[in-house]
Amino acid sequence: MPLVLPLLLAVLLFCLGVYGVLARRNAITMLMSFELMLNAVNLNLVAFDAWRLDGLATGQTLAVFVITLAAAEIGLGLAIVLLLFRGHGHVDADAARDLVEQDGGIPAADGAGTAAGRTAVEKGAAS
């Protein structure tokens, strides 16, 4: 089996993940895209392990570790998403702009962001 096959697969998966992270509005789908990217990495690890055959199974071990990390990451990530939801009433990453640079450098009051978020969610619910 040519090595480029899994590697190209990994590249495609990774870039789909990148696209998902950059383009998806919903924070949870962003997290899902992260998983795709992690999987691409895992694929690389495993493929190189199978190619090099160092006898220590380094790639596979690391892949397992990465899977563990991914579990931890998704746990924390979802906790944050939930917090976002509780704070803003939506999980729209695009609308979560509390860190925006205001005039005079003062962060936006919470109300404005929340209202905007709510309308977005209501719109989503309505459609």
């Binding site: 870039c15 071990t61 906790a79 939930l82 989503g124």
Partner: protein, 176 residues
């Protein structure tokens, strides 16, 4: 044989992944994620990494996706298709991702275009087990600590009262 298997699994993974990032229904996207992850597990299998493939299915499909679905549920994600599931930047993001793919793909092909993976006689679960508990035991333990920390972190984050936050915000607003 393995190549064919790998190619089929890979094709499935790609297709599912595309659906994950484009599906207009969030829940569908999560379910497509299951497919994609499963297909990747198949790829692992084709690469004779049965243990990783199993862990993949167990952890990802069994735990992570379930978590994601729970999260979708908790955030009251609608099941109907949403018109604006992607941002306005999505074409731009697609271009960026495409360029990145082109770049990485070219790099990979140039670097490893002629390399071949030799077929492996037997499974590698024993090797992995030996490696993890012999050579990688310290990272392994550190990882457990990390998991614990993540656990505590997740709890702390989700236990946080909203009122504290708004209080802090309003008080900081007064200061300004």
């Amino acid at each position: 044989m393995t190549t064919a298997l790998f190619s089929i699994a890979g094709a499935v993974a790609i297709a599912a992944a595309v659906l994950v990032v484009t599906s207009r229904r969030i829940v569908h996207a999560a379910l497509w994620l299951v497919v994609a992850l499963g297909a990747v597990a198949g790829c692992f299998g084709a690469l004779h990494a049965e243990f990783v493939a199993l862990v993949q299915i167990l952890v990802y499909v069994g735990a992570i996706v379930v978590l994601v679905l729970f999260a979708l549920m908790l955030t009251k994600a609608p099941t109907n298709p949403l018109p604006a599931l992607t941002t306005r930047r999505s074409p731009f993001a697609a271009i960026v991702a495409g360029v990145l793919a082109l770049l990485l793909g070219t790099g990979v092909v140039i670097a490893f275009g002629n390399e071949k993976i030799e077929p492996v006689p037997a499974g590698s679960a024993t090797d992995v087990g030996t490696a993890v508990f012999r050579i990688w035991v310290l990272p392994f333990e550190v990882l457990s600590v990390l998991l614990l920390a993540a656990l505590i972190g997740a709890i702390v984050l989700s236990q946080r009262k909203l009122s504290e936050r708004s209080d802090r915000l309003s008080s900081s607003g007064k200061e300004d």
